[in-house]
């Protein structure tokens, strides 16, 4: 989009906003390019945004003008987004394409902080007046919960500590939030802020109990500010498209189970209940359709005798409303624990959709953990509870699918019946032991359906110690790398 006239949206279609004089500046070629860049980056993150939405967004810019950035953010979000889960991606991408400013933040430029006399990065133990000054001011800003001061400090911190590789070859320099935050270490301010804020004497008012959490949250928000600032500065060097592609975290339902960090897993856990509700309605819809049933020819003909052989009232073969039983067999070893956790919680949240849910966990021995899954206990500590509370390991701590499946087939096969659907979760990385395919065959022989959900992509199934292909020959194996895929598989595969 280089020569877009005013009121021209993404696809070159005229924006339906009438002949109004726009509120702020007109939607110029530059803005149109910015907007289409933003839309393209969002599409790259899996958001479905059509030309119609882009045109709406252009109309939004036209109506709002460019006076208030937060209003533009809210307006574009209203036009482009379709669910709340997309918000984090949108915010980060918006910051790249509609940056707060160019170069050093304006507030810092207008009123520059004192320049350190000694620009050398100080070695351990040497006094560092610049750092101390920033920390003092940050502590004050955090204690007062002053957002404006924090935003300004984020700019200053980035300016002072974030730069690396300056003066080197082009392309090797940049801005690092990691480096800046490492120098500043805002976490260590917690105790200081708390002593400043706490009222003397024993706490009478219970809100003081949550003070530490509040301050921690503020520090976390400040870290996010610095990260955003770093992304903005890097985007100036490398262009926003590349940064949007790489440095913006994916939406929760597209987080890869195998590479999710602690925070991302917590984010995933928060999506369990909404997702369970959605899947439940989808299953209910399938069940409704299935319950309609087919024409029962014998009964229709029998009925037609009363109307002289004309089948006026067709009879349907009604299905008994029976819900399937579900058995979950999960590898809970470190490598795939995130995947197993999430799926166990999801299935637990959906438990009313099944007549019975039993959950078994293994590393190299199988144990039933259905009771450990009861809601009410902290879901974040589920993995720890299973590892300590159930006997899932034998003499060593490595995964062994062969003996785990064998153990299940020997001791728990009564859990599986002709109405049971078995889901096996794991990467099938067997540490080169015997895969014991026969045990899986015995389970599959008794169950109604058996599915294997593998968090690895199919191209990895043939590599290393993976026994995936051996198992895939016996049961249906599906790759399942993120929550979105898991949701699709559950609604599609499970019998209703």
């Amino acid at each position: 989009m280089t020569t877009a006239p005013r009121h021209t949206g993404a696809a070159g279609a005229p924006v339906p906003v009438g002949e109004a004089v726009p509120a702020g500046e007109p939607v110029t070629a530059d803005t149109a390019a910015r907007l289409t860049g933003l839309v393209r980056a969002l599409r790259g993150h899996g958001l479905r945004i059509g030309p119609a939405e882009t045109v709406d967004a252009a109309a939004v810019l036209d109506v709002l003008g460019f006076t208030d950035r937060e209003r533009i953010r809210a307006g574009l979000a209203a036009a482009l987004l379709r669910s709340d889960g997309q918000r984090a991606v949108f915010d980060a991408t918006f910051d790249l394409f509609f940056p707060l400013g160019v170069g050093t933040p304006e507030a810092v430029r207008a009123d520059p902080p004192p320049v350190p006399e000694d620009p050398e990065p100080p070695r351990f133990g040497r006094p560092d007046p610049l750092r101390d000054d920033l920390r003092d001011r940050l502590a004050a800003a955090l204690a007062a919960d002053d957002r404006a001061a924090q935003a300004r400090l984020a700019g200053e911190v980035m300016e002072a500590f974030g730069r690396y590789g300056a003066g080197g070859t082009p392309g090797s320099d940049g801005w690092s939030a990691q480096q800046a935050l490492g120098r500043l270490s805002p976490e260590t301010l917690l105790a200081r802020i708390l002593t400043a804020l706490r009222r003397p004497g024993a706490p009478t008012d219970l809100s003081d109990l949550v003070l530490a959490d509040e301050v921690r949250r503020r520090i976390r928000d400040f870290r996010a500010l610095v990260t955003t600032e770093a992304r903005r500065r890097v985007a100036e060097l490398r262009g926003p498209e590349r940064i949007a592609e790489r440095a913006v975290a994916p939406t929760a339902d597209r987080i890869d189970f195998l590479y999710a960090g602690r925070d991302q897993l917590a984010e995933l856990r928060r999506t369990v209940h909404p997702l369970a509700r959605k899947l439940a309605t989808r299953l209910a819809a399938r069940r409704r359709r299935a319950a309609r049933g087919h024409i029962d020819l014998r009964r229709t003909l029998r009925r037609s005798l009363t109307t002289g052989g004309v089948p006026l009232r067709p009879a349907y073969r009604l299905r008994r409303p029976a819900r399937p039983e579900l058995v979950l067999l999960c590898d809970v070893s470190g490598s795939v624990a995130g995947f197993a956790d999430f799926t166990m919680l999801l299935v637990q949240a959906m438990s009313e959709q099944f007549s019975k849910v039993r959950v078994f966990a293994f590393v190299n021995r199988t144990a039933e953990v259905t009771d450990l899954l009861r809601s009410g206990d902290d879901p974040a500590r589920l993995a720890a509870r299973i590892l300590t509370g159930a006997k899932v390991t034998g003499y060593h701590g490595n995964s062994d699918y062969g003996s785990a499946l064998g153990g299940f087939a020997d001791h728990h096969l009564d859990a599986v019946g002709p109405r049971t659907c078995v889901l096996v979760l794991g990467d099938a990385r067997n540490n080169h032991r015997d895969p014991n395919v026969d045990a899986l065959r015995r389970i599959a022989g008794r169950a109604r359906r058996v599915f294997w959900l593998n968090p690895e992509q199919p191209s990895l199934w043939t590599t290393g110690d993976s026994a995936a292909l051996a198992y895939a020959a016996v049961v249906e194996m599906h790759p399942c790398r993120n929550a979105r895929r898991l949701g699709e598989l559950i609604t599609r595969l499970l019998p209703v």
């Binding site: 004089v21 509120a23 509040e214 959605k278 809601s375």
Partner: protein, 295 residues
């Protein structure tokens, strides 16, 4: 801000974002920047507004506030499982049609047919009522996610073109566009087609500052420091992993309870006795009580 060129399509309630925020506040609805901006845009661009968010953050209240400030008629369609065309759009008054046919015993079929499918025998339901109104109207389609998927298809014509087609009468187009607000608790995914026709607003829990102002506005008798502690504790509860996080409605309920009890600080006993007002699950109450016990 701007001229009137774009208001031809819109409902023309507001002049600017600031105006929207101020007038919403005047009716007792304190709006965040996002809410004020989105409401203004929906008004100006003449698009329906889909509001999603947890229960009790003021989705329905927003529609009521809009109706109050625009001095508009509020037409409400409460969705439920099994709602259909006859409940949402229009229905023919069969009983009256039968009476008309019986009364005009001697006339021909042509006359009778022309007559019984006239305006007189049409029972308008919320969607048609909102479309046909001459006065400013706010159409609230509440809890859209409760309705079946088929109803969404019914809404598409109304939402994109503001018209309703009645086969016997032809197409009825809105002379004055209503301000359309759809709410959803996200218990199921609304179809892409419906979402595409709307502006989207996720109404989340307000930030601490806004919530304090809301409490002060709704429960004016409550002591300021107490209101502040209350909002902070509710904020902390929301940060926990609870089955049902407390919403603004619960915050206000709690504030009213404290006022009624005449409490002046939030000490352990008061919180223990009143936690049931904010949290609705036994598990949550136990978890929160654990958190709020002084070490």
């Amino acid at each position: 801000m701007g001229s009137d060129g774009t208001t031809a399509n819109g409902t023309g309630f507001f002049d600017s974002v600031t105006d929207a925020a101020d007038r919403l506040a005047a009716t007792g609805y304190l709006a965040s920047t996002a809410v004020a901006t989105t409401v203004f845009l929906a008004d100006r661009l003449g698009k329906p507004l889909l509001v999603e968010g947890p229960a009790g953050v003021g989705k329905t209240e927003l529609a009521k506030a809009l109706a109050a400030l625009g001095q508009a008629r509020l037409v409400r369609l409460q969705c439920y499982e099994g709602i259909d065309e006859a409940r949402a759009l229009y229905e023919w008054n069969h009983a009256k049609q039968l009476l008309r046919i019986t009364a005009g015993r001697d006339e021909g079929w042509e006359e009778a047919r022309g007559d019984i499918f006239g305006e007189e025998f049409l029972l308008t339901r919320p969607l048609l009522t909102a479309i046909r109104g001459e006065e400013p109207t706010v159409l609230l389609i509440d809890e859209m996610d409760k309705a079946d998927v088929e109803v969404e298809a019914l809404l598409l014509e109304v939402l994109s073109d503001f018209q309703v087609t009645v086969p016997e009468l032809g197409t009825i187009t809105a002379t004055r566009r209503p301000f359309v607000l759809l709410t959803s608790n996200a218990t199921r995914e609304l179809s892409e087609a419906l979402r595409r026709r709307c502006l989207f607003l996720h109404l989340d829990y307000p930030d601490a500052e806004l919530e304090r102002r809301i409490v002060r506005l709704k429960v004016p008798g409550l002591d300021d420091t107490l209101a502040e502690s209350l909002v902070r504790i509710v904020g902390a509860l929301r940060a926990m992993e609870l089955r049902k996080a407390p919403s603004v409605a619960e915050t206000i309920d709690w504030a009213r309870t404290l006022l009624a009890l005449g409490a002046d600080t939030l000490d352990e006993a008061v919180v223990r006795d009143t936690l049931g007002v904010v949290l609705k699950h036994q598990d949550d109450i136990r978890k929160a009580a654990q958190k709020l016990t002084p070490a």
